[in-house]
Amino acid sequence: MFSFFNKFKDFFQKKPGELVLAGMILIGLALISFYFTLFLFSLSDIEEGVASVHLEIAQKTKSKIEGILDENVKALNDLAQILDVSKEKKIIIDRFLKERKAFTQIAVLDNQGWEILKSSRALVFAPEDLRDFFWSETFVTPMEGEIYLSRVYFSEKSEPLLTISLPIKSSPGQISGVLSAEFSLQEIWNTVAEIEVGASGQVYLVDAQGYLIAHPNIDLVLKKINLLKRRAVEEVIIEKKIVKGLGKEEEYFNEKGEKVYAVGLPFEETGWGVFIEEPIKDAWVTYRRIRNLGLISILATITLFLILFFNIRTLIKTSQGLKKSKVALEESKVTLEIKVEARTRELKELAEGLDEKVKEKTKELQERIGELEKFQKLTVGRELKMVTLKEEIEKLKKELEKSKGRPN
């Protein structure tokens, strides 16, 4: 273990650049693995969280709407039980219409499908206005003991309505007629309009044919818009799927031109779908902040890494340069020492030879001096003789001159 460590240490002491590179690769791998494991998974969790919150709102809305429908169906069922035994059918129905504002019209059908009584909030019916429903599902389904909910239809005032019909039982198992009521979705509109989804989200309801039947913007409902072209709506209404809105193909542009994210839930009984939509910019604001902060952190780390890398590389280069200089210096020092040594030795040797030479030269000089002294002595004698001779010559010259200058 220690030997491996030592080898490792030795290797990287020798090659610090590789150590830095290896360190950076390791940290880089750690960052990448962090990004692809923890960070991406966390982002995925946040996505799921956003979808869960929206789905919860959708679920609550669905429960409320189902509650409204159930409550009204129950009230209508209670009315059906009273009607069978009461002779005062008209008064009871009118009172029911007063108490239950969601119902706009109620009809009582006999066991042959004929309307025998009809009361409305807006219209007056005479006996000649009553119709036969023998072949209609409004009559057939309740006669089989079941509750019938029609598809949503619109009145001439573009108000969405629903027909609910159920059996009137004279005794258990004995169906004596059918109670059919026209139910306005007004209360459902109000429920949908009251639900808040973030700052800019909204809830809407689509019927089994894909038509918008409740929306905070009533105008859209009154325009009888079909929304099946929206993938999310198609999945909920046609495929009966729960839409979490996490797929790109489920995003769409809403009536305001905003790109929205939506979740949707199907209704089992009616085939309707409830949707929660929110502009993408708002729905994913937290998600995006976290993702962007993550990306910025990674970017900052990479930047710091690069700065560190370049700094270390410069340091290593400098260190390596210094090392080389040191080696060169050491090598120069050795060479110099050798040279100095050789020179010293040479000088020593030279010094030693010089003494002898000095002696020799001194001797030689002494001899020369001796010779010179001798020579000098000789030279000086000769000089003196020369001077004496010169003087004699001069004396003779003068006498000669004098002799020449005399007349003969």
Partner: protein, 335 residues
Amino acid sequence: MDKKIVIPIIILVLVGLGIFSWLYRGALFPEKLKEEKAYKVAVVLLGGAYQEAVDGMVDEFENLGYIGGENIFYYIKDTQGDQGAIIPATQELLQENPDLFYTVSTPVTTRVWKAVGTEMPIVFNIVGDPIGAGFAKSFSSSGTNLTGCSNLSAGLSGKRLEIFKEAFPLLKKVVTFYDPTNEFSQLSIVNTREAAPKLGIEVAEVHVATIDDLNKALAALKLGQYDGIYLTPDAMVISKVELVVERAKELGLPVMGHEESLAEKGVTITYGANFYKLGVQAAPIVYKVLKGEKPQNIPIQGPRELDTVINLRVARESGLTISPQILGKADRVIE
């Protein structure tokens, strides 16, 4: 450090900062709050009960943060039942360069539309039958420069007669007053005529073109001649309902109306949409038009509630007995 390294690093940092500031541009550079212009709304009405539809709209606008005289200006012309004054009033209002006209009742809407043409947006209210009156092709899309709220009173004419009969089962013959030149009154009376035989009631129609005509017609009523007075939702008659109420009291006759505020003014029984609530309901439509939406893209809305209101005090004063069944059905009883 080497320049060759420093420059890319600086660029990288700047790019990073650029990305950051782009991502958080909303937080760094919040959008300047847009200064909204002060809107101008021209209002034309015949007065009387129709004022409720104006009050509802104005109150709802206050709830939306638009205060009259501050960020919204209302130019209101109340012709007090005078239909001849509608067009001059509209022309006067056009001088103010309004953003839209808010018209209350069918005759007002008809005349204002005629005066302003097909460009100026009009939001109407208390129009009994917008399709029958030619204001719209359908409720979902008018196809014109008009939209608004309908009280559906034309369609409810028969039902009102039925409720009148339920309240006073001995009712056999009733009288009604309306202006035959009022298109809406004509639509409404058709529904009344259809329902009357089904209910075993005879309806006497008295044409009144002016308030003076109405006064005369009321004065001509004799004790025992009719069992009740049925109010056709004629704008002129409704704007002077107090004249009808006074004469009915003198003769001990019940009066049937189409709106709650009429019951407050002494009409014995009313069935229909509440004008004030319809005013509140119209406010978002007015708002959308002010914000630039085309009227033809905004569906016409009907009333969300239809209320039965009984003025029991007046009934007692007139010596009338209202059937307990109808009292049980009443949404409001004024005592």
